[in-house]
Subunit: 84 residues, 7 copies
């Protein structure tokens, strides 16, 4: 079921970011933080530019931010809301 | 809805900093710290120069600083106050 | 039982990822988090692309995610579900 | 209000250090530590040489040091006492 | 008792891994985790490929894994079971 | 009070180490540890060689060590006992 | 008391390791761990190969290991038992 040159076709992590541009994403961050918003940009360090962001800390809604630069360092995972 | 060369037009994280120069920004930092002030400069490590800074630790106002050099290492996110 | 050029035949960590493509994997992450899903891609930093992901935090089921980009930084181990 | 070549004029973080030489600075460090003294030197890692330093840990005065080499790693922010 | 060119004959850390291939090893990992299994491979980051792995967390047996890719980042030490 | 080429004359952090050779130094280390001894050597990572070292953990005297190699990683600050 | 070319004669941290080969050393590690054994090898990352190792965690004897590869990352200090 895995052919030898399969890795050539494997989904690249950075492509997940590219394919999520202008879409809603959910991001879990160290320290029990979670952010949900529209991905507007990124760089190779996974620093993200987000729009219309809702922040959750320890399960509680905290803030809403029109725009946000989120550092990649602290990210645990990013999930696109509507598939890829 | 996403064309293949979309990434060319994606917002770059460093541009968020550039576009926030001389504007008010809010920065969340590890250790339940938050800083609000006017962004005067930055470098590629996200070290920031801020002016007229208010500090909040664990939700309490702490200090006011005329000028501050904030290390990029500890930053969780930066949000421009009035959009971009 | 170990011949001198055995290391030539040793399993390479990155091959474990390659051989797990399109298979179910279980990943333990710092902060008492665990993720189970189908591996779709990876890069040299062990950033992973996963599909149909179940999340467990402190032993409790939390979320289900159609797609996820999981940062390699926080990974403790990855185990393929059905051998290699 | 922001012209396109503004970043050329932006304050550089390292200049904040240069402009603080021989002046009093206040430095917050991870672990609820704070140091106040005269900045005598620095390097690109933000390692600092300080003179006449007062140390505060968890809000309590601890020590006074004639001279100190403070590692940049642990610094959260540095603030010059009398502007820039 | 130490001659000057002794370092030439010193055991190299990576050789401990090489000499442990196909042998049972015990690995202590940050977060009170311990893994015991047969070493099948490694890379320069000390990422390990293990077979027939028993996991202990806080002194309790947790899981058994047929195969595991353990990240080198979190390792405290590795000990070969039967010498070298 | 600060002339423009002052930075040329600024004290360099590594010079503080050089000037402390064969002198008594006090070193604060993460984890509420403190070491006091005679500095015998160092490298660019701030790894230190110390002689006649007293160790304090959480304010309690612990050990005395004839010789010690202290890793730079964990150092918060170093202070020479008798100025520079 | 310090002549200008003294640094040339300063003890180099790596030499402390070289001079400790085949001798007993004591190593303190983050997480209240301590290891005592005979140093058999090391590399530039301070990864160590140890023989006849006693482990202490939180002041309690835990294990004895015939051989151990200890990662340099977590080391706080190493002290040779019988001087240098």
């Amino acid at each position: 079921m895995v052919n030898n040159n399969r890795s050539t076709y494997a989904a690249r992590p950075m492509d997940t970011l590219k394919n999520s541009l202008e879409k809603n994403v959910m991001i879990d961050v160290r320290g029990s933080r979670s952010y949900s918003g529209i991905l507007q940009g990124y760089d190779v360090y996974m620093n993200l530019v987000l729009k219309n962001v809702s922040e959750t800390i320890n399960g509680e809604n905290r803030g809403v931010f029109e725009k946000m630069l989120l550092r990649g360092d602290n990210i645990i995972f990013l999930s696109p809301s509507g598939g890829d």
